[in-house]
């Protein structure tokens, strides 16, 4: 896909997020929307995956370490054909396979269950190590929250990945600057994020997480990097794409009401239309 097609796809992903969270009457729209372009790039351009065969042996793996932004992952998976887009409306409903946080046992395309912050990166590192041991060519991607990296286990995993020179691993930090209690810089600052990953033996690339040409360059560089894992620090806006949610921490874990839902969907419809004029 070219950048314009990716942008159009990202609008669909965002509509899916807003729709799912609205239908669930709970969930995490802010971080889902900040990561929507990253999900789009990974699932529609970067990863070697097959919706008809979600468990394909040599597929690339993805671990959503910041599991609470499941609506973003589910929307990407649904639009990529892993399951019906219509099912997004069952998110968090009793009996639905679309659990509040990723559940690999029941959701096609989910490579690892996650949700308890700090744990996903370790699993991704295990997958990357397995790939190296088996001399498989698949790559492993993990998406982390910038608040999530306050968890100590992230740095245990980073130390191991750097030590083992896992160059088949690319970690993306969704750096939207906000966590539940406020700005990450004020709550318990993880900055400087880039210097920390460098110190743990990572190749670090800083990008605008909403710019597909920058994401394209970063993931290409990650693939070409030998002898060390890559950390892509993606500068993003929480709630991106829905004006009243942008940079507003109250939308971290809250669903839009009917009126807010209509407004959000109208904004996204217009954004999609504008892209069609390009």
């Amino acid at each position: 896909m070219n950048d314009l097609e990716l942008e159009k796809t990202a609008v669909k992903i965002r509509k899916g997020i807003v729709t799912a969270v609205h239908a669930a009457k709970s969930g995490h729209p802010g971080g889902s929307l900040s990561a929507a372009d990253i999900f789009t790039y990974l699932y529609f351009e970067e990863m070697n995956i097959n919706p008809q065969n979600p468990k394909m042996e040599n597929r690339d793996r993805f671990v959503l370490s910041k599991g609470h932004v499941a609506p973003g992952l589910y929307s990407a998976l649904a639009h990529r054909g892993f399951f019906p887009v219509e099912d997004l409306k069952t998110l968090r409903h009793t009996g639905s396979y679309l659990q509040g946080h990723p559940d690999m046992k029941h959701i096609p395309g989910v490579d690892m269950s996650s949700g308890s912050l700090g744990q996903g990166l370790s699993a991704a590192v295990g997958m990357a190590l397995a790939g190296k041991m088996k001399k498989d060519s698949y790559r492993v991607y993990a998406l982390l929250g910038d608040g999530e990296i306050e968890e100590g286990q992230i740095w245990e995993a980073a130390m191991f990945a750097g030590h083992r020179k896992l160059d088949n691993l690319a970690v993306v930090v969704d750096n939207n600057n906000l966590q539940i209690d406020g700005a990450i810089a004020e709550v318990c600052s993880p900055y400087p994020i880039d210097k920390k990953f460098e110190a743990f033996g990572f190749n670090v690339i800083s990008v605008n997480g909403h710019d597909f040409s920058e994401l394209r360059r970063a993931f290409a560089e990650a693939k070409d990097t030998r002898g060390m894992p890559t950390a892509i620090i993606a500068d993003t806006t929480k709630g991106k794409g829905v004006s009243f949610m942008e940079n507003n921490v109250s939308w971290h874990g809250k669903a839009p009401n009917d009126e807010e839902y209509e407004t959000a969907m109208e904004e996204l419809r217009k954004a999609g239309e504008a892209l069609c004029q390009k």
Partner: protein, 313 residues
């Protein structure tokens, strides 16, 4: 009297891994800087490429094992019970058990028989923690032969398994020609009509010793080895309780949440029976030679005998 052969089940663990490793290329062993103590060093020597030292980072080790298992490996994660079940409880629960991944947790240095290291390293709560996790199988073998069999059975089961091993060398009691380890099935080691002693781990030997002493007093105790804490052999527990009318449980674990609780739960629901739980009371351990601690905490043969006598009189 001939010398009784004694082996620490942590040694059995290491040796069993080497045997299994020869048969199965997908078996990998993870350690957190304790390979010398968990006795997986022998595996590391034999299969250096399949031994992964994660450094002193147990939480990460559990996650790495989870990730590797999704790619076809069968990881045996090795560390002390305190760190496996205690420190990394939530990683075991959420990264391994919730997705029902095929990871085996080899927890050594369980219970007070850790000895001199003291209470910080004496995990008396692991069975309670692991037993409460959905889908987790929990093995607590009693000797070398059973420990090796349990490791093999754990490999053959699909799903998470917690294996409890000890630091202390313990008598070999299962060296009989017809010994067979069947997950979830208790083993009747001695028949008796007056009382049933359900024991697990190194306390199976203590129970057998106690039964000998009881017999001298005219009390015939049935001794059942419960090597699988979960799933519990409810059928045998209930049947034995009905037969003997009195029940004692013996474990090197807190009386809260382990074998005693599991048996109490089963009997309260299916066959209410007078029951006494022998184990570590609601307290932390302490430093000292393992044998002295087992004596002090009433978990050796003499201590178990004494407590049972008080219960039955």
């Amino acid at each position: 009297m001939s010398e009784i052969k004694k082996v620490a089940t942590r040694d059995s663990y290491g040796n069993a891994l080497v045997s299994l490793g020869k048969e199965h290329d997908n078996l990998v062993v993870l350690d957190a800087d304790l390979a010398a103590a968990t006795k997986t060093g022998v595996f590391k020597k034999e299969f250096p490429d399949r031994h992964i030292d994660c450094g002193i980072a147990e939480a990460n080790m559990m996650g790495i094992a989870a990730g590797m298992s999704t790619c076809g490996y069968v990881p045996f994660v090795s560390t002390f019970a305190m760190f496996a079940a205690g420190r990394a409880y939530e990683q075991v629960r959420n990264s391994i058990a919730y997705p029902h991944l095929n990871v085996k947790i080899g927890a050594t240095h369980a219970g007070i028989s850790v000895g001199e290291d003291g209470a910080s390293h004496q995990c008396n709560e692991d069975l309670a923690l692991m037993r409460s996790i959905p889908g987790m199988t929990v093995f607590n073998p009693s000797d070398d032969i059973e420990a090796k069999a349990a490791v093999k059975a754990a490999y053959e089961l699909n799903g998470p398994v917690y294996l409890r091993f000890g630091r202390l060398a313990v008598p070999v009691i299962n060296d009989t020609p017809d010994y067979k380890f069947v997950p979830g099935k208790g083993v009747v080691l001695r028949e008796g009509k007056d009382i049933t002693i359900f024991a697990t781990g190194l306390c199976v030997h203590s129970a057998l010793e106690a039964a000998e002493k009881l017999a001298a007093d005219g009390i015939n105790a049935k001794v059942v080895n419960i090597h699988t804490i979960k799933p519990l052999d409810r059928e045998l527990v209930v049947q034995s309780a009905k037969e003997t009318g009195k029940v004692v449980t013996v474990e090197e674990h807190s009386i809260i949440g382990g074998l005693g609780s599991a048996v109490a739960e089963a009997l309260a629901e299916e066959a209410p029976t007078p029951l006494f739980r022998i184990g570590v009371l609601d307290t932390f351990g302490e430093s000292g030679p393992a044998a002295e601690l087992l004596e002090k905490y009433g978990l050796d043969g003499a201590g178990v005998y004494k407590q049972i006598m008080e219960f039955v009189k």
